[in-house]
Point group: C2
Chain length 211, copies 2
Amino acid sequence: MDNSKTAVTRNRLLEAAKEVFAKAGVNGATTKEIARVAGVNEVTLFRHFQSKEQLLSAVVQQFTAMQAEALAHQEEWTQDLRDDLRHYALLYNAMLEEHEALIRTFIGEARRHPEAARRIIYETTQPLREKLITYLSNSQKRGVVRQGVDLRAAVDIFTGMLLGGMLRRSASPIPLGYSSESYLETSVDLFVSGISTIKSRLEHEEAQHNI
Amino acid sequence: MDNSKTAVTRNRLLEAAKEVFAKAGVNGATTKEIARVAGVNEVTLFRHFQSKEQLLSAVVQQFTAMQAEALAHQEEWTQDLRDDLRHYALLYNAMLEEHEALIRTFIGEARRHPEAARRIIYETTQPLREKLITYLSNSQKRGVVRQGVDLRAAVDIFTGMLLGGMLRRSASPIPLGYSSESYLETSVDLFVSGISTIKSRLEHEEAQHNI
DNA sequence: TTCGTATGCAAGTACTTACTTGCATTATAA
DNA sequence: TTATAATGCAAGTAAGTACTTGCATACGAA
């Protein structure tokens, strides 16, 4: 009973809230509109969530759980640094673009809802983040990644590039002078070249030359 | 007459609006609060700006003008790629941190106010951006920056790293595993190493070794 | 001094918002 | 069938919101 009826309504409300918060922002979102999108009466919303604020934190909870789940299944490393990071970049960028509007809302609301911001930044990306750090650390031991680089910072720099690119791209319909693909490819290229040992950079350029 | 009296009040209103928009977001900001912060009557606000929306666009206008001005005076290139980019990074990062709250507001509002977003992204950074592209292009001719890199994308990637870092840092009071300084230094290091020719990377490492 | 302009103040308008109450209806489980 | 729980519906409350109007006051320029 807790399943079918109640849970369905609750999930519809959560989905609708996510959508309306993304479109209108936290302040701009109204419980009336959320209920309308969910296809339920506004009163029902308040029977499920005691306030708009609590609805927001439920949305955050569900979103972080979903994203952590979605990003957790990244296990296949080819041990080719460039390929692996490109794969990671594509995955991460797709996630950013899919949830662009909601991410914007949360960035804007971060100071007013620091706990929500913390959860979104950490709980969603932490597992994958740790894996990447371990991966780079191993690459360091293999002599592919150079010494003396703060790997924790490096990983966040990598994702920061992608986030920054998404924010610029989607903010305005103005030509940036490069394509979205070029931004991604250049991000991977610069990062890999920058973090590699000279030896492995030389090997890469040689391989490129032989093609 | 257009100067002293009216202009002073207008500027106080613009400053107050900037502050309140930054703190409360566009939707959360009330004309009553803006007037209070400015120290004028709410009616006076509407005598200067016909609507809250127009006040917002005036704030955007003033902000872009100020920032473009502040960032325009970057002329001294030492021709050492690393030093120059570090200098640029510090300048840009200081600007990001100073206006963190307002930047968050605008990022969150970008879809609802695309024209404002466009102006902030473009008009504030365009001049410096072009200068950096020219600079990197010259470095390319000098053999310091390698060929085959999309320089326009590269410049935005560089600023994207810094923006991403600021957004992560200030969103939450949680330890990231590295310091703000390390993030900046690693950003510069990775970018410079990544965009340099192998030759100039070798020279740099040699110089480091001799210290 | 006089005149025009900028501002303050009190009140009001029309609308929206989060949230509540009471009761009727439906569906489900025992 | 009957009791229980979830939902819909109509209405309402209390507070806030952007924005307006009318009038009084102060101040600077001519």
